[in-house]
């Protein structure tokens, strides 16, 4: 008896306390599904946008593959910022984004990192990855994680993939790459230049020249049947304005040109 009364109380408290949800208190809100690698910079951009527009931007941060799967299954969001085209394509094929709003927002650069205490200086990527002290190379899973997809594509293009493949440790995300390198479990990690912001114990041993590397593009699009398409479109436009550009570039991103 008593137990059931307590559980009833818990239910009431729970329902009352948490009903605000993503559409609760007054001010306009936007839900943005964003790839992990842009989340830091995007948080700053969102804060800046909140100051000028009063719109509260809520970030749903995960790997782009997870975000696309959520959208395809009908998750409510207003904007999707993916770390690669493949996941955006999946959402587009499922009719979950407004194709006319899709635009490439950012590019990034691949870098190979080692721990700061390693003296090695690499003259090239082959010299680095095939060095005898390199037993493991950590990178995002080439089957799912965009950073890994790009890394694999680059290594293929320079004819190194077959030689290096057996050393590759695929990870769930870039953070895991850093963890593997920082803990000494992998000697080399391949990440984005922008990921250096969250790294403390690594340095760049080799940076893939932008013109030689794969075309890393972060597309953004308004989600279909979102609650507020007009507001989503306004935020998307803001992402390409100088205020946002400064923040993205400070984080190490390269903005895509105006042509779309």
């Amino acid at each position: 008896m008593c137990a059931s009364r307590i559980s009833l109380l818990v239910v009431c408290l729970g329902l009352g306390g948490c009903d605000s949800g993503p559409s609760g208190d007054g001010g306009e809100q936007l839900v943005v599904s964003a790839a992990v690698s842009v989340s830091d910079a995007l948080t700053t951009v969102s804060d800046a946008y909140a100051r000028v527009s009063g719109v509260d931007v809520l970030l749903n941060v995960a790997g782009s593959d997870t975000l696309a799967t959520q959208l395809i299954n009908g998750a409510r969001a207003d904007l999707f910022l993916s770390a690669d085209h493949r996941q955006m394509d999946r959402a587009e094929e499922a009719g979950r984004i407004l194709t006319s709003t899709r635009v490439d927002l950012l590019t990034n650069q691949l870098v190979a990192v080692v721990t700061t205490d390693r003296a090695h200086t690499a003259s090239g990527i082959d010299d680095l990855l095939q060095a005898p002290w390199v037993r493991y190379v950590a990178m995002g899973d080439p089957d799912a994680v965009p950073a890994g997809v790009y890394a694999q594509r680059y290594l293929r293009s320079v004819g190194l993939w077959d030689a290096v493949q057996s050393k590759v440790v695929p990870t769930r995300d870039v953070r895991a790459v850093l963890a593997a390198v920082e803990s000494g479990n992998a000697e080399v990690g391949v990440i984005y230049r922008t990921d250096l912001a969250v790294a403390t114990m690594v340095r760049v041993a080799f940076a893939v020249p932008v013109h030689e590397g794969p075309r890393i593009r972060y597309p953004v699009a308004v989600v279909a049947d979102g609650r507020n398409e007009a507001a989503a479109q306004r935020f998307l436009s803001f992402l390409r304005r100088p205020e946002a550009r400064r923040i993205f570039e400070a984080a190490g991103f390269i903005m895509m040109g105006e042509a779309s």
Binding site: Q70, R76, A77
Partner: protein, 219 residues
């Protein structure tokens, strides 16, 4: 600012885990009792189904839930028509937690029922007590320890749930739990807040197990 957010996340997680435990209690008790007492056709299948979330990778369970409760899924579609959104809300958190905690709850409660001496139940029946009354006044209290252990296990599992939650509830500020917040913070290199939440999670887990052990000792 950040500490208020951390407190909110911790409180939210505890309330959600409690709600999930409440949600799994009625069906869990019924199923535990059935499995312990009534051989029925297909019992082995039901047993296996219930244990599935224990064995499946949580992300896979999350994907199944997303398929079911997404607005294009069989359950989500119906809920959408009455204006109920699940994915990315606190409801998604409760569902993920309840599904993941359910097998542990049922297992413990079932073993509780199995240890009840059936003679007491038979005596009560011969004295004219209805089956419901026998269950509520004899079986349930005597299985109390097992049920209580189930509640604690289910609650703890719910509190620690990550894989399914991140899939169906996302990492939005409004549906962020201890686990998904720790994930978000480490992803963005905010190790400080992540460590604080880690300590909070450890503290809550410690308290839950401590209390359950005390209950076991005196009950």
């Amino acid at each position: 600012m950040i500490s208020a957010e951390l407190g909110r996340v911790a409180g939210f997680s505890v309330v959600m885990a409690a709600l999930a435990t409440v949600l799994m209690f009625p069906p869990g008790i019924a199923l535990a009792w059935l499995l312990a007492r009534r051989p029925f056709p297909g019992r082995a299948v039901v047993e296996t189904l219930v244990s599935l979330p224990l064995v499946l990778p949580p992300v896979a369970t999350g994907l199944i839930l997303l398929r079911l409760f997404g607005r294009r899924g069989p359950i989500g579609r119906v809920l959408d028509e009455i204006g109920l959104d699940v994915v990315f809300t606190w409801k998604a958190v409760v569902i993920a937690m309840a599904v993941m905690g359910f097998p542990l709850f049922v297992r413990a409660a079932r073993s509780g029922f199995e240890h009840v001496d059936q003679r007491y139940e038979q005596i009560a029946s011969t004295l004219g007590a209805s089956p419901i009354r026998v269950f509520l006044t004899i079986s349930l209290p005597l299985a109390g320890r097992g049920v209580m252990a189930g509640v604690v296990l289910g609650f703890s599992r719910a509190l620690g749930e990550f894989g399914a939650t991140v899939m169906i509830a996302g990492t939005l500020p409004g549906s962020r739990t201890l686990s998904t917040a720790i994930y978000s913070f480490t992803q963005t290199g905010q190790d400080g807040p992540a460590t604080v939440l880690l300590c909070v999670a450890a503290g809550i887990a410690f308290a839950a197990i401590f209390v359950s052990n005390r209950l076991g000792a005196t009950g």
